[in-house]
Symmetry: C5
């Protein structure tokens, strides 16, 4: 787990920017209208309650925490670890890996290596780990789809609120001087809907999606590593294979780490 | 079958919210306009009658019932059941499973296990069950596509109604005082169209889609279980495999159930 | 071939509804404007002539007939037929099927069974039938894409017509009293474009797409049946397999038919 | 190569229709505004220059020629030819095909048959021809994507031009009488953008896409034919297979040709 | 690396065109409004900070450099090189290729040929190179998705700015003479948002996407070449295979090169 404050910073700076933009030209109080917020946010949430099972919607607060507590995908460390495990397995046998399992945090990796220690067949290990990965991805995509749907519904309910305002205003045009303020109030729900969608829901869905993509790559890497360890692959080839998942930046980090480390990489 | 009232609650609260929003600023009667509702709902339904076969459209009331009577996907129970069946099959042979079939409700599962008992080959069982699953999914997606299409057509007919209103109003502008109320009436069809789409049709399509996704996962799990039982797989490996379909919450439930149960899970 | 009038009924009722909606508030004659119709329908058709080869566009009248003369997909009858053919083939040999071919109407099925009688290899039969199915689907999807494209172009040309009307009106604003009627005329092309798309082209494309989906399922079923007959599969397993393509309603029909029929289904 | 004038006819008739539509209600000169055309067409082309490599953009004139000189996909002739080649190959051996290669125009077919004559293995022939087909498709899709992108950018730059016009007009409202003509000029870029997209770029992209689809089907057919000739397949089965790519119209043409031809089709 | 200035030229000419278009009708200063630019660009960037990890956003300047320094995909040279390597490998053995590796720049190619020299199995080489290619593509698509997302967010924040301007203006309509300039200012954020999206972000995303597509084709070609060299394929067949990736223009270049070169291509 790594704390990432960029989502908070983005949200805060976007909000400050809009407030500054409003205050530089008009009165901020024209934009604070609780009934309009209730219509836009409440209405779109009501539609969301129809769209998704309650048990998924109740995970929203937990999902939001993921914006700050992003699971770290440290692939450089993963390679170093797999490299050591592969050497150990070749030297002392697969059973020797059992001791290392207690110190690992990643449940996915532990379950995979445990199956290796238990002597389960490679095909079954790959199948089980792949299914696990897919189940995790499906669950994550579900969380994202809540925000994607919300991002569609919020502007729609904003527009509904504006239509309500317009019809009310147009149905009673006696006082011409009130047309402007009526229009202003009517437009605020569209403003809220668009703001919720573009500053909050769409970016959150995108953030979660990128996180999931990253996690899936790490998981693919882990499956590859587990299978190769079981097959007793040469640690250097294992590394070569896993290094294909690294970006140039990560490759550079790995090489720097290697240089400073006294334990040289060699064909054992 | 499980009663789920969240769809009803969402629809009710969304409606209440909109009514409150209207009444707090204007007269609710400006929004009750039967001819406009007839144009929007009737017109979009007429287009729907062209789009889909009658026999599919007539399933709409039955589909709507699924919003409340959601088929329960109790995967924890499914695992427990498969685990017991696997033990029984190993102990007493595959034919011993026939007794259990009478107590099962899930037609899909029964048909799969019946084929196991009948000694049909694994490849054919998997093929038949997969075809069945695909047929079910196709049928469900068809139902969803009706609501997805309706969600597109309703706002379109709302806009058509508004265009009718605008043209009628503009063609006869003598009485300037009637412009406002003319515009108001014209906008109501757009309001209806957007309301139908965003509070009703889009959420229903989404609800049905999530239900189908969940059902397909359970069916995949069931196919896996049936095939493994036939293969005489070790019950613990079977469980390990099926547990890959569970979410962390379901896994926790399964573990709690296990702890309270006296029957320990062991390598038999 | 089965006559299906739901497309005609949908179109007629939608038109009546809109006419009623117009007449209840204004003058129907404001909506009859031949030059506007020429711009919208003619312009979008001109763009269609650029988009598709002439030989495909000339099939449009033939495609439209399919809305009424829908090819019937009677899967229950298909199963009964395959079941009988399978029994006959097991009893009297594959060559005995030749007599039945003359009574069949479905060209696809005949060509498949003819290849069985001719003793062509199963792999080649499956390949040829699959290719045939794909060619048919490609051709059908082509027909649908004409209407899908038209449904995009018609509102675009409607908007072009409105822009023409607006520019003409705005360029010459001397007579303020003519603004309203100018605007009204300008909006009519948008009305026509949206009407053509949403009441006619989109529903037709959807109707054709559903028909094609249904036809493809029947064809898949037929391929499965032909291959299994050639393989000499047990008629009961053949039925079990083909029944996976049926919806619950069709299954019920099949069972009812079976009960009334004296010829019981048994393991031969 | 076949001359196809339908694209030219469509473009001409669409233009005439719009000009007539304009002239019947106003002055055609209000729609001729070179600076607006420069903004819309030039601006969108500038964005296109950023989007695509120069070497691809320079192919646009060549691509446009394809709208008139459409490569003919004469599949009936292709079948007749393959049928004759298959007979010849069975009679005189594969090397005898070399003479026919000089008379063929289709480079794709020649390269495939040349490999057959050279005795290259079937797997490699299929792989090379498939790669060639994919390279051709990729190149064609690239050309289409230029027009698809242009069809997105043209209306966007049209709207930008309208925004420029509106801001200029609104910033200086002293002379109320000029509002109308200001608006009219502002709207013309939107008109141009929409016209370019819907009468020119979208239809051209669609036309090219249909051509490519057709060409790919013919190429798939050619690959199938080349492979079967090498395998020494029975000419009748080869024909049966290739006939699956034909539409009912083409099948009818093939049968008519056969009937008039004295050379009957028989099992050799 | 090749310098490509078309992106710069496109951007410059588009900007000049728009400035000319503005100046020919109004005052350029009406379009310079820093607070509006801050709202549109800053707001959409704030949303981008929520959407993507900081480490990816910080690559944006480096990505922008790719618009000018486009990696050259010289497939003609690649074929010539592979052809020579294949001859050398057949003559002197695979180990002889090691000398050539030092002169090569392309890291991807070097790593592939190094594995060939090291005697690693073909399947593993193909797997590792394919994984490397996919990792590169994923990374490139990530960079593109930043601009694609920005192209969605910029117009959205432009519209938010316009809504702010409208609400402020409508809330205070006392001074009727300021309505025009208020509207003008309000519309400028929409102008900025649309301009950023259509002249900058969308074209950049498209440019990067085309570059990646081209690079992936070259990489696929390189994988094919490496594998064939290891397999000791006849250089002429290797060339035939790799030439399938060339466009007609590149094929012509290759043939011209061949003609001028004294080293003829022959079956060795």
């Amino acid at each position: 787990m790594k704390k990432s404050y960029s989502a908070v910073i983005g949200l805060a700076s976007g909000t400050v920017l809009l407030i500054w933009s409003i205050m530089s030209s008009g009165d901020i109080m024209s934009f604070v209208h609780l009934p309009s917020m209730a219509t836009t946010l409440g209405g779109s949430f009501a539609a969301l309650v129809i769209s998704f099972p309650m048990k998924d919607l109740m995970k929203v607060p937990k999902i939001l925490k993921m914006l700050v507590n992003t699971p770290e995908q440290d692939r450089v460390r993963l390679i170093t670890m797999f490299s050591e495990l592969a050497r150990k397995a070749r030297r002392d046998g697969l059973l020797a890996l059992e001791d290392d399992l207690n110190n690992m945090e990643d449940e996915f990796l532990v379950s995979g290596l445990q199956m290796v220690v238990d002597g389960i067949e490679p095909d079954i290990i790959r199948e089980i780990l792949t299914l696990k990965m897919e189940t995790t991805e499906r669950r994550h995509r579900m969380g994202q789809s809540i925000f994607t749907k919300w991002a569609e519904l919020a502007p729609a309910f904003g527009m509904l609120g504006t239509l309500v305002g317009l019809v009310v205003m147009l149905a009673d045009l006696q006082d011409a001087s009130s047309i402007g303020s009526g229009m202003a109030v009517a437009l605020i729900t569209t403003f809220y809907g668009s703001l919720l969608a573009n500053l909050i829901f769409i970016p959150i869905a995108s953030n979660l999606s990128v996180q999931t993509n990253e996690e899936m790559v790490s998981k693919e890497m882990a499956i590859e590593g587990v299978i190769e360890i079981q097959a007793g692959t040469n640690p250097r080839i294992l590394e070569e294979k896993l290094m294909t998942y690294l970006s140039p930046e990560e490759l550079k980090m790995l090489k720097e780490e290697r240089t400073t480390s006294t334990e040289a990489l060699s064909y054992e």
